[in-house]
């Protein structure tokens, strides 16, 4: 599903990723770990298509991201959910509107949008808060809104950048359980984290990065 061949990416003089060779199969649950600046976020952004590799090739479902056009990229993004580290929620829109936006861009009918948004909010346990605004929610709740927005379109791949970064251990467990539930539906889940606690709580395939290189790729 996701294939990287000798992928390198640099920002100015800083080499963010070097000669990455990686394959992630359909339905896998993968951690990308490593210290800050190791290249975890860059790897996720490459898979998401918001960055292009400087060298090497990247395929997602046999689509080469290096040569993908703007329109195809937009359509590919509809099949990838991304949970951002800073949530990227719109403070002027309600929880419902923040989630449903992912379906609106796909041109879904209002009835379908309503139904699927309610389902996603129920799944993350926020049905009661659909009319609330993000700033009135706790950090954990905002994170769950971001997850609901990522899963509402039933993506084939779910990317999450430090999804438990600012959460206490109890909330971390809740969020991981949520990701496992999503994974059980057949979605490929890739979590970027440097949380040891998370890796130990739910051991899965772990790709460890250091200074832009893969130093370990281990399955548990």
């Amino acid at each position: 599903m996701i294939q990287l061949y000798n992928v390198s990416k640099k920002f100015g003089a800083n080499m963010a990723l070097r000669d990455i060779d990686l394959k992630i199969g359909k339905g896998e649950f993968v951690y990308v770990t490593g210290p800050s600046g190791a290249g975890k976020t860059t790897l996720l952004r490459l898979i998401f298509g918001s960055e292009k590799p400087d060298s090497g090739d990247m395929l997602i479902n046999a689509i080469n991201l290096k040569r993908i056009g703007r329109s195809k990229l937009d359509h590919l993004r509809r099949r990838i959910g991304f949970v951002f580290q800073d949530f990227k929620l719109l403070p002027t829109k309600t929880v419902f509107e923040n989630v449903s936006i992912a379906l609106e861009v796909m041109g879904q009918r209002a009835k379908v949008i309503r139904k699927r948004t309610h389902q996603a909010l129920r799944m993350v346990g926020l049905s009661e808060k659909e009319m609330s605004y993000p700033l009135s929610l706790s950090g954990g709740e905002q994170q769950r809104v971001a997850i609901a927005r990522a899963i509402v379109k039933s993506p084939m791949i779910l990317l999450a950048d430090e999804p438990t970064g600012n959460l206490d251990p109890e909330l971390t467990r809740e969020i991981v359980t949520l990701f496992l539930k999503i994974h059980e539906r057949g979605t490929t889940v890739i979590l970027a984290t440097h949380s040891r606690a998370l890796l130990e709580a739910v051991p899965c395939r772990t790709i460890q990065l250091k200074q832009g290189r893969v130093i370990e790729d281990r399955c548990y």
Partner: protein, 297 residues
């Protein structure tokens, strides 16, 4: 899908307008002001043209009489004018009346006339010829014939004025077109900046839309619709204001050069539509220019 999405895009555009109403109203007001200036020019041209065309069918003359003209000579001049085919309206303006008219026309600046030792203005006949009087009713012939009569000092013909006004009108038309073109550019510029401001205000939303897979068209269309609505409303508002101005002017009695009061007409329907379409089109172009260079996320 696009057709199905139009109500959705329209709804989003209207919601966006509501959330940025101050900037939007400012843009709308300025667009309407530009279109109003254009409309005012059109109204002026249409009226001058209509008035001028009407004037074209009539020929007016001022037959100035020599000072100290005898009653006999005056009556003779009168009779020779009356004998001309098509001579309809004739009014005698005495030297005193001419001075009073001039004082009225000069208003506050007429005081210097009080110091005149004697009235230098001549008495005159005001004559209007109507209809097609045949080959004898050419301005040149009439002038030539009347100037030969005893007691006539000078004959001034409206045809001379008409030629002068025609020249002024062509220059004014050129200036009007140039100003019109500049105003069109202004409307484009206003729309570009209004939409740029809204783009800036909603950059976070746009970023998120792109991140969840919105196509460029999906993001851009509401902004284009916003621009078009601004132009459309600006056009309608300017037409409304123009009509108000027209009603105000037509309620007044305006006389020029001592001719019959000017009858005001409103701009034809085609011009009204054109004015609204210019607003809509220019604003749409302006919005297109604003969203053309879009965020590459």
């Amino acid at each position: 899908m696009l057709l199905r999405s139009i109500p959705y895009f329209l709804h989003r555009a209207l919601k966006n307008i509501n959330s940025n109403r101050f900037v939007y109203l400012l843009g709308l007001g300025t667009t309407a002001a530009c279109l109003l200036i254009m409309g005012a020019f059109l109204l002026l041209f249409v009226n001058v043209h209509t008035w001028f065309q009407g004037w074209g069918h009539t020929l007016s003359l001022n037959v100035y009489l020599e000072d100290g003209i005898s009653h006999y000579q005056k009556d003779k001049v009168y009779a020779s004018i009356q004998a001309m085919p098509g001579a309809k309206t004739m009014r005698f303006i005495s030297k005193e009346e001419a001075l009073t008219d001039l004082k009225r026309a000069l208003g506050d600046q007429s005081k210097f006339l009080d110091h005149l030792a004697h009235n230098p203005l001549p008495a005159s006949y005001e004559v209007i010829f109507e209809g097609d009087g045949g080959p004898d009713l050419t301005p040149e012939r009439i002038t030539e014939k009347l100037e030969k009569a005893d007691g006539v000092e000078e004959v001034q013909c409206s045809a001379e004025w008409r030629n002068k006004v025609e020249g002024v009108l062509s220059v004014a038309q050129f200036i009007g077109l140039t100003i019109g073109g500049l105003l069109c550019l202004c409307i484009v510029f206003i729309a570009t900046n209004t939409i740029k401001l809204t783009l800036y205000a909603r950059r976070d939303e746009i970023e998120i839309l792109k991140l969840v897979g919105a196509t460029d068209r999906f993001v851009k269309l509401p902004f284009l619709i916003e621009g078009a609505i601004q132009g459309l409303l600006g056009g309608l508002l300017s037409v409304g204001l123009l009509f108000g101005g027209y009603l105000f002017l037509s309620s007044k009695k305006i006389e020029v050069l001592g001719l019959a009061p000017l009858e005001f007409v409103f701009i034809p329907a085609a011009y009204v539509v054109a004015l609204v379409l210019i607003g809509l089109g220019m604003s749409a172009i302006g919005s297109l220019a604003a969203v053309g260079r879009f965020f590459d996320i």
